[in-house]
Symmetry: C2
Subunit: 125 residues, 2 copies
């Protein structure tokens, strides 16, 4: 995959080159709240199209935001985890969440997310 | 312009519906540092294509992030200003800037920008 050329050296522009789209930060959100597999990431309520999810996971790996580890062979399946760089986006997510809650009517934080970083048991809805 | 359907009620997803793309937050950045006109916004170092700038300004107005005021007639020209909702994105920009400075090599804050909110004197590098 060709690495995107940077538009300027502004840190905001560079950050948006890596994470400035409708989906990447939602994948970061889901990894922060404990999702790990492609299937778990695809199951989020926003309904990310699977080709976009696959593309974003590739870009996020190339950008150093996540790492993939095979947890199964034949067929090979990967678990995804945020790198330290990827986890660093939590502050951006928090700022977006605060802004969304304040300025957009009828938003609702996922229960798993609001209870700090996930007290609900695996598999719970 | 059709208003985008929301993907979920998650405040992060809703925030990204309005501002989650490569360009919108750069326009917010530029308005925060005092740019007002279409020409000033088009002159940023990232080289935003003019059709994209026009589209983003329309979306930002529809989303309540900016308001436009005609400052000249024949031909009519508009000055753009952030609403309170749009100014609220400053925290998101700050978080992105911190993350970019920390995790992306060779970023550099615009002199006008660093002097506005911090200690370096105007024009200082």
């Amino acid at each position: 995959m060709a690495y995107m050329q940077r538009r300027s050296n502004c840190p905001v522009a560079c950050a948006l080159d890596l994470a400035g789209d409708k989906w990447t930060l939602l994948v970061v959100r889901d990894l922060l709240r404990g999702r790990r597999t492609y299937g778990e990431l695809a199951a989020s309520p926003e309904g990310i199209p699977t080709n976009i999810l696959a593309d974003r996971l590739r870009r996020m790996q190339a950008g150093g935001l996540i790492q993939a580890t095979a947890y199964q062979k034949r067929p090979v399946r990967y678990a995804y985890a945020l790198t330290e760089k990827g986890r660093g986006l939590e502050d951006v997510l928090s700022a977006l969440a605060r802004w969304g809650k304040r300025h957009i009517p009828r938003t609702r934080v996922f229960p798993e997310f609001s209870s700090s970083s996930r007290s609900s048991p695996p598999g719970a809805r």
